[in-house]
Amino acid sequence: MRIERELMRGAGPVAVLKLLETGEMYGYELVDALAKRSEGVLAMGQSTLYPLLYNLESQKLVSSTRREGPNGRTRKYYRLTGRGKTRLTKEAKQWAAVTTAMSALGVLASEPCTQPALG
């Protein structure tokens, strides 16, 4: 399932920050990991990933270094900055709150929630 663009705009950066929490990764690796670990839900193409990474860099949430990879070619590795970690924590809490709220509303349940009987 592919998610709507607007939702992706909010979820994509958090997902990338989360992936980088465990260590540095290069662009293709990020795309691959996102697709596999989210079972395709958060899969994003090159045309979405790089603008997203540039935005995160401009906010100083991630930083990049180009260096030679194991295959002998240069690669650009991205890693989380201190500011990125703080943001991730904050965003994660917000997503948790949203998820809880959505569950309470029955949005995340398979059956619609029932209204409690009045009085």
Partner: protein
């Protein structure tokens, strides 16, 4: 892998700054194609990476970075076993990707790097705003002037001519005076002189001869005597006409009935033939020892001045003053050079005649003030806003100073918007002329009313100025300065000195009265008085005040003959020094 490394090494060696410079190509760090060569992409993927990078329209160095990122990604995809076609399909919309990348890369730039963009954006925004504001202002201001038109409600020429209603023809000097030149031309001369040659010589003699009128060469010439021999009936007729109560001229104007184009045809006649005819006759009367004839001529000259003031335009006032000044000077000269010429009774009559000639009190500018009312109804709209017709009006009156271009379609609404409104312009015009009238009418010029500094400055800004002399300013400044005073700057006359001139002629009148009184005293006592106060009350009611400082006219009883003078406009008494004071009458030279 070794091949790849060799290729990288070769690329680095072949793209050093020095090699790039020598081969006249882009430096390696700015060459996207060279930068991604090491990824060894198939042609279609290389084209994709380069194409997207180029479409971002980022700085070259940024494009290289983007191309490298994309190429690296594609390389990784190929190395992961994906086909070029699959990678192309996954990539999606190139244009959309380029747009997103551009936006995010620009955000990545430092504030310093973004400064030129801020400046360009800010300038564009500011410029756009200014243009928009100007456009709105232009439409709003333009709508005030394009859809309005002046309404002419008053025929001022008719109103002026209405003054003649009820004046019988026998009380009018006009058109009788207008026929004098033609009558003179009809006289048959055989002695070699006529109006066209002799009368200008009289004017010239008056202007140039300090010892006028007795010793002028002109009066000794036979043709002058012959001319007046024939012209005597006409001179007598002029005297009679000049003594009539009213001028009675019907003013005429161009088709538009504009007061500005009114023909004051009597002015050149008075200043020219009529004045000269009487002055020439006066010269001969003195020469031929005919004091009654001279008295008649002097009275007629003063009558002409009075009639000229039938209209209180500035021009009329100037002509009247000129005639009066010549008449007073002629009287003083006769009393210097021919002290015994007038009999005692004639001196009394002369004194009475001059006393009745109120110079300063007569010098009003009412019709001149009316002039702008007439202009205003032709150039202002119903809401008091100046209209484009003003430019046309000024040009048609022959005042061609309107700066080129100020009246074109784009600029005119702004120029007209900063011009004084009808009420403001009328207030300035009326105020300025009323102030000058007050300065003229005051019997004490040294105490003439003074304007507040702010008002004085405003008048100075709008008084007629020569636009072409403001060359040092920019066109905008000149337009702004011109428009803020338009159309007053084309019509309001600079007459700050005029009241002083009026008072100088008034002083000449007072001095002539004193000179007559001195002569009367001398005849009675056989010598000149020591002080002017000795003339009061028998020969003078009071000693006239010097209008430039309020004290009595200055009098020096010198052994060689008395000197009468005023301290002049500077108000400083320099003991009658002719260079610094205003010498009114010096009896010494002629009597030595």
């Amino acid at each position: 892998m070794t091949d790849s490394r060799n290729a990288d090494a070769r690329r680095i060696l072949l793209h050093t700054p020095v090699i790039d410079f020598l081969l006249r190509r882009e430096p390696g760090r700015l060459d996207a194609r060279a930068a991604i060569a090491s990824f060894e992409l198939p042609a279609e993927l290389e084209r994709l990476a380069l194409g997207v990078a180029r479409r971002t329209r980022l700085h070259r160095i940024e494009r290289v970075a983007v191309a490298e990122d994309l190429a690296e990604h594609l390389r990784e995809g190929l190395d992961d076993g994906r086909s070029p076609e699959a990678l192309l399909e996954d990539f999606g919309d190139e244009a959309g990707a380029a747009r997103l990348i551009r936006r995010s890369m620009i955000r990545k730039r430092s504030h310093l790097a973004r400064t030129p963009r801020y400046v360009v954006k800010g300038t564009a925004l500011l410029g756009g705003s200014v243009v928009a504001v100007c456009l709105v202002a232009w439409v709003v201001l333009g709508s005030r002037v394009w859809f309005d038109s002046p309404t002419i409600t008053v025929d001022h020429i008719q109103q002026l001519n209405n003054r003649n209603i009820g004046i019988p023809a026998e009380d009018r000097a006009w058109p009788g005076l207008s026929t004098v030149p033609a009558e003179l031309d009809r006289l048959a001369f055989t002695e070699g002189g006529d109006r066209a040659t002799l009368l200008p010589k009289v004017t010239e003699a008056v202007r140039e001869t300090s010892s006028w009128p007795v010793e002028s060469n002109l009066v000794q010439r036979a043709e002058l005597t012959a001319f007046y021999g024939h012209a005597t009936p006409i001179v007598e007729r002029v005297r009679e006409l000049a003594g009539r109560p009213a001028l009675g001229i019907e003013l005429e104007a161009a088709d538009d009935r504009s007061l500005f184009s009114v023909q004051l045809v009597h002015l050149p006649l008075v200043r020219g033939d009529l004045q000269s005819l009487l002055l020439g006759d006066l010269m001969l009367a003195v020469r031929q020892d005919q004091p009654d004839r001279a008295l008649h001529d002097l009275r007629a000259l003063l009558g002409l001045a009075r009639l000229t003031r039938a209209h209180s335009f500035l021009l009329c006032q100037l002509v009247a003053l000129q005639v009066e000044a010549v008449t007073f000077k002629a009287t003083q000269d006769i009393l210097i050079h021919r002290p015994e010429f007038f009999g005692n009774e004639q001196l009394v009559e002369l004194s009475r005649m001059l006393t009745a000639q109120e110079v300063c009190q007569s010098a009003d500018l009412g019709d001149e003030r009316r002039g702008f009312e007439d202009i205003a109804q032709r150039v202002y709209g119903s809401n008091g806003q100046l209209l484009p017709e003003a430019f046309t009006f000024v040009r048609e009156t022959g005042y061609a100073q309107v700066p080129e271009g100020i009246d074109n379609f784009a600029i005119a609404p702004f120029a007209l918007a900063v011009a004084p409104s009808r009420s403001e312009a009328l207030e300035i015009w009326d105020g300025y002329l009323a102030h000058q009238e007050a300065r003229m009418a005051t019997p004490d010029y040294w105490e003439a009313p003074v304007l507040p500094l702010e008002t004085e400055r405003r008048y100075a800004e709008v008084i007629h100025t020569d636009y072409s002399k403001q060359g040092s300013n920019s066109t905008f400044e000149r337009y702004q300065k011109y428009a803020s005073a338009f159309p007053l700057n084309e019509f309001l006359p600079a007459i700050g000195n005029f009241p002083g001139h009026v008072h100088e002629v008034g002083l000449e009148r007072d001095a002539t009265l004193v000179v007559i009184a001195l002569e009367q005293w001398r005849r009675k006592n056989g010598r000149w008085p020591e002080r002017l106060e000795q003339l009061v009350p028998k020969y003078l009611e009071v000693v006239p005040a010097d209008q430039f400082d309020g004290r009595n006219l200055r009098y020096l009883a010198r052994s060689e003959g008395p000197l009468l003078y005023s301290v002049g406009r500077d108000g400083l008494d320099e003991n009658g020094n002719p260079e610094k004071d205003l010498v009114l009458w010096d009896a010494a030279p002629a009597r030595e």
